[in-house]
Structures are given as structure tokens and as C-alpha cells.
């Protein structure tokens, strides 16, 4: 395979794989930047995947080819709604954020499978007839070299992910909302003295994480598995969490980290076809993405600091 061939395969699949992680990691950023640790991302993806697939299955006849996109909105709404549980527990009821996040993960898996059995009377849903499929981006696809690598045989959702990452960066870094959100995650009492409603901001943060986590799940299910079962979301939420930390709680950093994960995954698959890698045992290729990540972290990324107040409760009048 020539380098060009490799890139043509590598880039779209990297982005396809990365997109759900990007959305979810961005969700994690909203939550953690507001000071609420969210290890429930996995569960939020489960909810998103479930609701997107169920909605898609039931309304395809009504909405036709717009179904997957509407299903994404539904997934976001479902994720947002579900994340309220985490918000109520972690913010209002002062639950340990990690415990509440674990509960979210357990609850999401249990509840969705329970509902699948209730709705479909079996353990998994059917296949959706329309998900996100391969496209060539008009105009851009004709750019020499670049067009072929980046804009052909790719997915709208990949570009949506990049776009959303930029938007989230803009919101977090440039708008009053972002400034307030970050202040609440760094020093809630300071924010309070400046008249910012800490509780409200944290609710926003968590709910946005739910919406984006749901979006991530919806994108994953509709662009990769096409159905929902117990194995649809199996660890992607934790990978997104890792991407968020890897990206140092920065939207563009997390975008990069998720793309790195996708890249490592894809390269390990391509690897088996490369002449010089052909002979090595499969297991090395299977573990390559994870080992590469560890090496990357150790080598150049090093320490990352979470928002200072993340994981803490803000109780008015306490110091």
C-alpha cells in the first residue's frame, strides 16, 4: 500500500471512530469545568445510543432521511434529562461525584436493557434502516490530495464533531457563560461573591454534559452499530473520559486526544496489511492503541491539572 492509500483509509476511519468520543469528551469538559466530576459519561452515551436507535426505528416512516438527525436531538434531550439525576445527586444532595457517576453508569445500562426487553420483548433492537453513511463533501472533495484524504468517503458526523469542538472552545473560552462556568469550577466561592449562582451554573454544566454524552452515544449507534444492545456502548464513555483528561480539560485538546485514540485504533488495523508489520503477532496490534496512549501520555503530555474545585461541593457559608 502506498502512503496515499493508507491515508485514504486511515483518515476517515480515524475520524469516524473519534467523533462519538469527541462529543462525549466535550460533554465531560462542561461538567468538570463547572466542578462536577462526571464518570457517568459511559451511561450518558448508553442513554443516547438507546434513545437514538429507538426513535429512529419508530419514526423512520415519518421523517425519512432526516430521521438520524432528529434522533440525535432526541438523544441529546434524553441524555440531558438523564444527567439531571447526576446533577441533583452531586450538586443538590451533595453526593460524592464519583459515586453518583457510577450509579449513572449502572442505571443507564440496566434501564435501557430493561426497556428494550419491555418494548421489543427481546434483548436487542432491530437494525435501523437509515443511519449516518459515507459521503463526499461537495466542492472540498475535489481539492487535490487533501480532498481525497479528508473529504471523500467520510461522514458528516466527523465534521460535526470538529465543528462542535470549536464551538465549545469558543463558548468556554470567549463567552460570559464560559467564564462563569470556569470560575465556578475553579473557585466557587469567588464566583458566588461575584453574584454568580454556583448551583445553577453547575446544573448547566452537568446538563450540557448529558446532552453531549447523549449526542456521542447517538452518533455512535447510528453511524457504527445500527442497533442497540448490551454491547453497543462498551467502554467508549471511559475512553472519552480518558480523552478529556488527555486533552487537559481543553475542548481542542480533547478533540486532539480523541483523534489520537481513533488514529491509534485505525493504525493498528491497517498495520496488519503493512509489509513490515505483517509478521508480528496479532496481539501486538490489538494492544497497540492502548500502549501508544500510555506512551504518549508519559512521553510528552505529563501532568494535567483538573479544575481546582472539581469534585467538591459548594455549600454557601462554608469555607
Amino acid at each position: 500500500m502506498s502512503l496515499m492509500d493508507i491515508l485514504i483509509i486511515l483518515v476517515p476511519s480515524t475520524l469516524l471512530w473519534a467523533a462519538p468520543l469527541v462529543f462525549t469528551a466535550l460533554g465531560g469538559i462542561f461538567s468538570e469545568r463547572s466542578g462536577v466530576v462526571n464518570i457517568g459519561l459511559e451511561g450518558l452515551m448508553v442513554i443516547g445510543a438507546f434513545s437514538a436507535i429507538v426513535f429512529n426505528l419508530f419514526t423512520f416512516d415519518t421523517f425519512g432521511s432526516a430521521t438520524p438527525w432528529i434522533a440525535l436531538l432526541i438523544a441529546m434531550a434524553a441524555g440531558a434529562l438523564f444527567s439531571m439525576l447526576h446533577a441533583v445527586a452531586a450538586i443538590t444532595f451533595r453526593a460524592d461525584h464519583t459515586v453518583s457517576g457510577v450509579a449513572i453508569n449502572l442505571l443507564a445500562t440496566g434501564l435501557t436493557l430493561f426497556l428494550v426487553k419491555l418494548i421489543f420483548d427481546k434483548g436487542e433492537t432491530g437494525i435501523i434502516s437509515k443511519g449516518f453513511s459515507k459521503i463526499d463533501i461537495p466542492v472540498l472533495k475535489d481539492i487535490p490530495v487533501i480532498g481525497k484524504i479528508f473529504f471523500q468517503n467520510t461522514y458528516w458526523t466527523s465534521f460535526l464533531a470538529i465543528l462542535v469542538a470549536i464551538i465549545v472552545w469558543y463558548i468556554v473560552a470567549k463567552t460570559p457563560f464560559g467564564l462563569r462556568l470556569r470560575s465556578v469550577g475553579e473557585h466557587p466561592m469567588a464566583a458566588d461573591t461575584m453574584g454568580i449562582n454556583v448551583t445553577k451554573m453547575r446544573y448547566y454544566g452537568v446538563i450540557l454534559s448529558g446532552a453531549l454524552g447523549g449526542l456521542g452515544g447517538g452518533v455512535y449507534a447510528q453511524s457504527i452499530t445500527s442497533n442497540f444492545s448490551h454491547s453497543t456502548i462498551s467502554g467508549q464513555g471511559f475512553m472519552a473520559l480518558a480523552a478529556m483528561i488527555f486533552g487537559k480539560w481543553h475542548p481542542l485538546g480533547s478533540l486532539g486526544a480523541a483523534i489520537f485514540f481513533g488514529f491509534a485504533q485505525s493504525i493498528s488495523i491497517i498495520g496488519s496489511s503493512l509489509p513490515f508489520l505483517k509478521e508480528i503477532p496479532n496481539v501486538y496490534l490489538l494492544i497497540a492503541p492502548y500502549v501508544l496512549t500510555i506512551l504518549a501520555l508519559t512521553g510528552f503530555i505529563g501532568r494535567a491539572d483538573a479544575p481546582k474545585a472539581s469534585g467538591t461541593h459548594y455549600i454557601k457559608g462554608n469555607r
Binding site: 439525576l85 441533583v88 445527586a89 443538590t92 444532595f93 451533595r94 453526593a95 460524592d96 464519583t98 459515586v99 453518583s100 457510577v102 450509579a103 449513572i104 453508569n105 449502572l106 442505571l107 445500562t109 440496566g110 434501564l111 436493557l113 430493561f114 426487553k117 419491555l118 454491547s231 462498551s234 467502554g235 471511559f238 475512553m239 473520559l241 480518558a242 483528561i245 488527555f246 503477532p281 496479532n282 496481539v283 490489538l286 494492544i287 492503541p289 492502548y290 500502549v291 496512549t293 500510555i294 501520555l297 508519559t298 503530555i301 505529563g302 501532568r303 494535567a304
Partner: protein
């Protein structure tokens, strides 16, 4: 109401609330809650066989819970218990199949192998955290996947010749005993439960009673103060991961030498390591708490298997109830506020 009484009452109320909400869910979705809970009860305590299975089930939960809890107490989040558990399982079975030794040597050796394997697997994230300040959460997540693939590879290519199962361990390495089987009507109950109980004691003693535990707790609460006090922060970080991994590896031995007596290639994670997170958190990261929350988990998980057959209720319902219990325990602040109100009224 005394403070102590309240702190006991709080988790009980959380469990009740979980069950109540679970009941509501069943009613709403048209299932019969009485039948479901009866089935659950029968599935966990109905016969001595099931009691044996419940104990068998919560044995690794205790150890996985201790593993998570131990790291937590030193300020580290070990999501990698699953991976350490898998390598522990494999190491124990490997020793179990590869050697043929007298039981007094073979069994301890196999257990030791599991402990060492788990400890080594956790040593890596510990070292990276201490040395390079790499976030342990990412590394342990990645190490889980590596453990899964590497142990599958070893089973296929090293322990067997392209087989998918190590084959049973030698009887000299098993934790099971005919006597335990006979009193529990052939359940897979094994002596590992004693090791788990001893481990609870070790965790408590180590953390609360030894100078090493004092250091570990200090590092967990305030690294700067620990450094100021002359403690070696990095060494303690690594040590805590290693001890945590050792518990996880021992949990793997419970499966490899007790429940299964073999190791097979796996398509995915066993879930024990992740359940360990919930067990630890539910148990407040203390040894005694972990012990009780593991029992609760074991009862619910084993009992749930009986629900579809006896009551026609999907066993996911139990997952929901477990989640709700964790949730309510986490949110026990509002339960405490509620209890405070009641006790204030009592005074008036």
C-alpha cells in the same frame, strides 16, 4: 437519635428506597413486584445451594471492592481493577495447570502468583503517576484493555496450543473443597471467602493501625503535608497502587482457583472490577463497609438470575435496583437531613 444509629440507618433507608423505586418501575411496566422479589429471595436463599453461590459471588466482590477502596483512600482512582483482576486470574490458573505440587505448596503458590501479577499490573500506573504525574485514570483504563488482549493471547499461545481454555487446574491448586460442596449441595463455594475476610482485616489494620497506613492516609489527604512531614510521597503512591493491585489479583485467584478452576479466552471484561468500584463506594471505602456492600451485591446478583424464570421479570431490573441503591447512598445527605428533622421533632 444517636449519630451512630443514624449512620447505620442511612444506608438501610437507601436500600429500602432503591427497592421502593424498583417496585414502582415494575408496577408501571406491568410486572408483579411480589413475585419478582419472592423469586429474588428464593434465588438467593431458597436453597442451601443458592446460599453457597451467593457467598461464592461476593467473595471476589469483596476483594475487588477492597482494591478500589484502598487506592481511593490514598487519593487514587484505580479504574484498572478489572485488568489487574484478569491478570491475577490468569497467573493463578497458569500456576495451577503448569505445576503438579503438593497442595500445601501449590495452592499458596498459585494464590501468590495472582497477587504478584495484580500488583505488577498496578505497579505500572503507580510508577507513571509517581514519576511522570500521568493521570492514573487514563493509564488504568488502557491497562484494562491490554490485560484482556494479553491474557487471551497467553491462553491461546502459551498455556495451550491454540485452544480457548486453559483446561482445569490441578486439584492441588483448587480453593474448592468437597466438604464445602457437600454442605451447600454442590455449589461452587470455596475457601476464598476466608481469604477475603482476612483481606478486609488486613486492609483495616494496615490503614488504621500501622505507620505505613498513617503515611498512606496522609498522602491521600494532603500530599504537601506528607512531604513536609518527611514522607516519601512517590513511594507511597506506588505502594498504594501495588497493594490495590494485589487485592485485585487475589480477586482474580478467587475465580481462577475457585469459581471456574480454569481460564478461558474472553470476549470482554468480566465486570467484577467495575462492580468493585460500586462496592467500594457503597461501602464508604472502608473495609467493613466493603464487606457488607459486597454481600448486598452478591445477594442481588445471584438472586436476580432466578427472576426471569420464576417471575418472568427481566433480571436487568436488579441492575436498576443496584444502581438506585448506589444513587441513594450517594445522596444520603438528604436522608440525613430528613432524619435530623425527625429527631428534632422528637425532641419537641
Amino acid at each position: 437519635m444517636s449519630k451512630r444509629f443514624k449512620s447505620i440507618l442511612t444506608p438501610i433507608i437507601a436500600v429500602l428506597l432503591g427497592i421502593i423505586v424498583g417496585t414502582i418501575i415494575m408496577l408501571v411496566s406491568g410486572y408483579n413486584p411480589v413475585a419478582a422479589f419472592t423469586a429474588l429471595w428464593n434465588g438467593a436463599f431458597g436453597e442451601v445451594y443458592y446460599i453457597g453461590e451467593v457467598v461464592r459471588q461476593f467473595t471476589p466482590y469483596i476483594l475487588a471492592g477492597l482494591a478500589v477502596a484502598f487506592a481511593f483512600r490514598v487519593g487514587l482512582f484505580n479504574i484498572g481493577v478489572e485488568g489487574q483482576f484478569l491478570v491475577g486470574w490468569l497467573a493463578a490458573v497458569w500456576v495451577g495447570v503448569a505445576f503438579d505440587l503438593p497442595r500445601v505448596i501449590h495452592l499458596p503458590l498459585a494464590i501468590l502468583a495472582a497477587i504478584v501479577a495484580g500488583a505488577l499490573w498496578a505497579f505500572i500506573p503507580g510508577l507513571l503517576k509517581a514519576r511522570f504525574r500521568v493521570h492514573e485514570v487514563i493509564v488504568t483504563i488502557m491497562m484494562n484493555y491490554v490485560a484482556l488482549h494479553v491474557s487471551n493471547y497467553l491462553i491461546r499461545n502459551v498455556i495451550t496450543n491454540h485452544g480457548d481454555n486453559s483446561g482445569p487446574i490441578h486439584k492441588s491448586a483448587t480453593l474448592r473443597s468437597p466438604w464445602l460442596e457437600s454442605i451447600t449441595d454442590y455449589s461452587r463455594l470455596h475457601w476464598g471467602i476466608l481469604l477475603a475476610i482476612i483481606s478486609c482485616f488486613i486492609m483495616w489494620f494496615l490503614l488504621e493501625r500501622t505507620t505505613r497506613g498513617f503515611e498512606l492516609r496522609s498522602v491521600g489527604f494532603n500530599q504537601h503535608a506528607a512531604q513536609y512531614a518527611g514522607m516519601n510521597v512517590n513511594k507511597n503512591i506506588i505502594l498504594s497502587m501495588v497493594i490495590s493491585g494485589a487485592f485485585a489479583g487475589l480477586a482474580g485467584a478467587m475465580e481462577g482457583l475457585g469459581t471456574f478452576e480454569y481460564a478461558a479466552v474472553k470476549g470482554g471484561f468480566s465486570g467484577v472490577g467495575f462492580d468493585g468500584i460500586a462496592v467500594a463506594l457503597l461501602g464508604g471505602n472502608t473495609a467493613l463497609g466493603v464487606f457488607f456492600s459486597a454481600i448486598l451485591f452478591g445477594v442481588l446478583k445471584v438472586g436476580a438470575l432466578n427472576m426471569p424464570l420464576e417471575a418472568g421479570v427481566p433480571n436487568e431490573l436488579v441492575d436498576i435496583i443496584i444502581a438506585l441503591i448506589v444513587f441513594f447512598v450517594a445522596s444520603s445527605y438528604f436522608i440525613r437531613v430528613f432524619l435530623d428533622r425527625i429527631s428534632k421533632k422528637e425532641v419537641k
